[in-house]
């Protein structure tokens, strides 16, 4: 029954989202006129090659109006995005609850039987839809946005994706992509599931061996300081795997939807690094250790 009520709740939220999107468009068309006006004024000022007091006063008025419009537009877009996040967290809750109960819904087939290709697509999609952090002017990005690490006392929540350092069967240590199952406050240890072999392998790891993945993408256009910079050493998820390896940033993303281009440490290449490969912001985290693996 809980599932049904969650369904109706989600339906409600979707409806609200629809409203918000419509409002957004109203807001946008309203401001469009003013922006067009600004553009025209710009053109005229540039052709006349002179800024008369009249134009200046006019432009100032236009700018002020446009600014208020932009603020309103930002506000409503934020609300729409929050709504989406709310719906998504509800869906995620439902997924975890279903998994706990051992029941799998049709939309979420058992992962054990999931083919590798499907898993990879899923991972890519979750990287794509990682929300973009857009702050108000002057606001600085929060922890877990892009390259900004979590605060030292941060505890990852159930269902959060993390990079986890585990011992493989052959004794080698490896950073794998994992999902948090629980956190024990008295022992400071996480229980995590390997994303690749869910249910099969459950690891209990101290918090030192866990790096939470970013929860927002950093916007290269407004917050470039929240991105890893070129030649910085990072741990990045190797494409088509669920393991993190050491890599150097080749180029940081230029637009919000862009990926990092990174060079993985790879001894099979002459210069010790692979050719540039793309990795999403979500799967690039700071590399803590200094020693070579």
């Amino acid at each position: 029954m809980a599932l049904v009520s969650a369904d109706t709740k989600i339906a409600e939220l979707l409806n609200e989202l629809h409203q918000l999107i419509k409002q957004t468009q109203e807001e946008r068309s309203r401001s469009e006129h003013n922006l067009l006006n600004i553009q025209k004024t710009h053109e005229r000022m540039q052709t006349e090659n002179k800024t008369s007091p009249y134009y200046r006063t006019k432009l100032r008025g236009l700018y002020t109006t446009a600014k208020a419009d932009a603020e309103a537009e930002c506000g409503i877009l934020h609300r729409a995005l929050d709504k989406i996040a709310e719906i998504k967290s509800l869906l995620e809750e439902r997924r975890i609850a279903a998994r706990m109960a051992g029941v799998y819904s049709d939309t979420d087939p058992p992962r054990k039987t999931m083919r590798r290709g499907v898993l990879m697509t899923l991972l890519q999609q979750s990287a794509m839809t990682l929300p973009l952090w857009i702050g108000k002017p002057g606001e600085s990005p929060p922890p877990l946005c892009g390259a900004i690490p979590a605060s030292s006392d941060y505890v990852a929540k159930q269902g959060d994706k993390v990079a986890a350092r585990v011992k493989a069967v052959d004794g080698d240590e490896q950073w794998i992509l994992a999902e948090v199952v629980s956190y024990n406050h008295s022992t400071n240890k996480y229980e995590v599931d390997d994303i690749d072999e869910e249910g099969k392998e459950r690891h209990t790891l101290s918090r030192r061996r866990i790096i939470p993945l970013p929860q927002w993408k950093a916007n290269p256009e407004s917050d470039p300081e929240a991105l890893f910079s070129k030649d910085q050493l990072v741990l990045a998820l190797y494409p088509q795997t669920t393991c993190f390896y050491r890599a150097l940033i080749h180029t940081p993303p230029h637009r919000p939807q862009d990926d990092y281009s990174v060079l993985f440490e790879d001894t099979s290449y002459a210069d010790g690094y692979s050719p540039p490969l793309n990795v999403a912001q979500r799967y690039v985290v700071a590399c803590k250790e200094n020693k070579k693996k």
Binding site: K22, T24, N49, T51, A70, E221
Partner: protein, 429 residues
């Protein structure tokens, strides 16, 4: 030039909104739907991306607008103040930016006329650099919240005990330290000399053997009967005999060491002196006696009062200045005992060290008392300072009210000043 100065450094940004029909197809599709159709869960991801694009563009526009508006406002203010303020405000920066940037912008505008994609590119780049500039300006305000550093506090806390005032408690501790410890005498005791280890061991060995023998006898008793008892008696007798035989060599000579030395010295002198001078016939005989003396004949002539003779000789030697009085006191001529010598040496060291420590402690106590006295004076100086300040304030207040200070106030001020002076003199003296 003047024309350029009149032109505000505007960027003429391209504020054209995102064309959602082209860039955000899902968003456009959702817009055209009726309420009943709604949005599907599977559309959320795409919608999110498109909304983010819109928001990103809107917030960028917001920042740029704010910046441009600020430029216009500033520029107008400056104009209003007839460029008076402008000089006060960063003249260099403003001038350089006004000279370089707008010019380029103008050339751009002239070259390709109109807002085509050409000028659009550099413009958007300008936004980025400008936005960064803007953020750099904001940053310094946020930087000063440094991580807390309590190293200075810790340092001063560690130094505090060395600079703090001396308290009565500390004087008391010093007094306590000056009292001679009760166990001092313990360290100067010389335990009585026990039996020599070789003797003790010999006796122990003997006892051991006796016990062994007794056990053996016990075993034999059944066979030998009364004979064994006889044996035991024999052993005892034997032991006594051997003991008596042992003793003589230990103190074969009844004379004390000083007596012996004196006698030796006298005898040797006789030998060195030429024989002719003292042709005494008795000498060979006497010499014989002396040469074989103590051992064989020690028992033969038992000399009485050897002890008093020894004491008398020492007394004489000491009074003659040939012997130092303490050198052998209480030692009883057994100065060759190296354990004792070491013990005495250490005790002397200890005595010297205690004396030194004591004098230091006394010195310290004296200094501490002196300091206590000064502290008290300093305390009084502080009180006097306050009084002087109080008087000063009162007089100043009076002066502010444009009235001459009363006699009472003056007297008080003088009294406070004099008192302070006298205490300071005391402190210096």
């Amino acid at each position: 030039m003047s024309e350029l100065k009149d032109c505000p450094p505007l960027k003429y940004y391209d504020f054209k909104p995102v064309d959602h029909v082209k860039v955000c197809p899902r968003y456009t599709a959702v817009l055209s739907r009726s309420e009943d159709d709604g949005i599907g869960i599977e559309e959320l991801d795409t919608l999110q991306l498109e909304l983010e694009t819109l928001l990103s563009s809107a917030s960028r526009r917001l920042r740029a607008l704010e910046e441009q508006r600020q430029i216009l406002t500033d520029w107008q203010d400056k104009k209003g103040d007839k460029r008076f303020l402008k000089l006060g405000k960063d003249p260099d920066l403003a001038a350089s930016s006004r000279h370089s940037k707008p010019k380029k912008q103008k050339l751009d505008g002239k070259g390709s006329h109109g807002p085509g994609p050409g000028p659009g590119r550099p413009k958007s780049k300008n936004i980025q650099t400008k936005v960064q500039d803007f953020e750099f300006e904001v940053d310094p305000q946020e930087i000063p919240r440094n991580p807390k550093n309590d190293a200075p506090n810790r340092f001063w806390a560690s130094v505090e005990p060395y600079c703090a005032d001396i308290t009565n408690e500390e004087i008391r501790v010093l007094d306590e330290l000056l009292k001679p410890p009760e166990d001092e005498a313990e360290y100067y005791k010389i335990p009585a000399l026990g039996k020599h280890y070789s003797q003790r061991w010999a006796q122990e060995d003997l006892l051991e053997e006796q016990r062994e023998g007794a056990r053996a006898n016990d075993k034999k008793k059944s066979i030998m009967g009364p004979l064994s008892e006889l044996d035991a008696k024999d052993v005892d007798a034997l032991l006594k005999k051997s003991e008596t035989q042992h003793e003589p060599p230990d103190d074969g000579c009844p004379f004390g060491p000083l007596t012996q030395r004196l006698l030796q010295a006298l005898v040797e002198e006789n030998i060195i002196s030429p024989m002719e001078d003292s042709p005494i016939p008795d000498i060979p005989g006497k010499d014989d006696g002396a040469g074989t003396s103590p051992r064989s004949q020690g028992k033969a002539f038992s000399v009485p009062h050897t002890r008093s003779l020894e004491a008398r000789i020492r007394e004489e030697l000491v009074s003659q200045g040939l012997l130092e009085s303490d050198e052998r006191q209480g030692v009883g001529g057994e100065s060759e005992d190296e354990v004792l010598a070491e013990l005495q040496k250490r005790q002397a060291e200890l005595k010297a060290l205690t004396a030194h420590n004591r004098s230091r402690k006394q010195e310290l106590l004296k200094l501490a008392r002196e300091e206590m006295r000064k502290q008290e004076l300093r305390q009084r100086v502080r009180v006097a300072d306050n009084e002087v300040m109080e008087a000063f304030r009162r007089i100043m207040a009076a002066r502010q009210k444009k009235r001459t200070p009363t006699k009472k106030e003056k007297d008080q001020a003088w009294k406070a000043l004099k008192e302070r002076e006298s205490i300071l003199k005391l402190l210096d003296g």
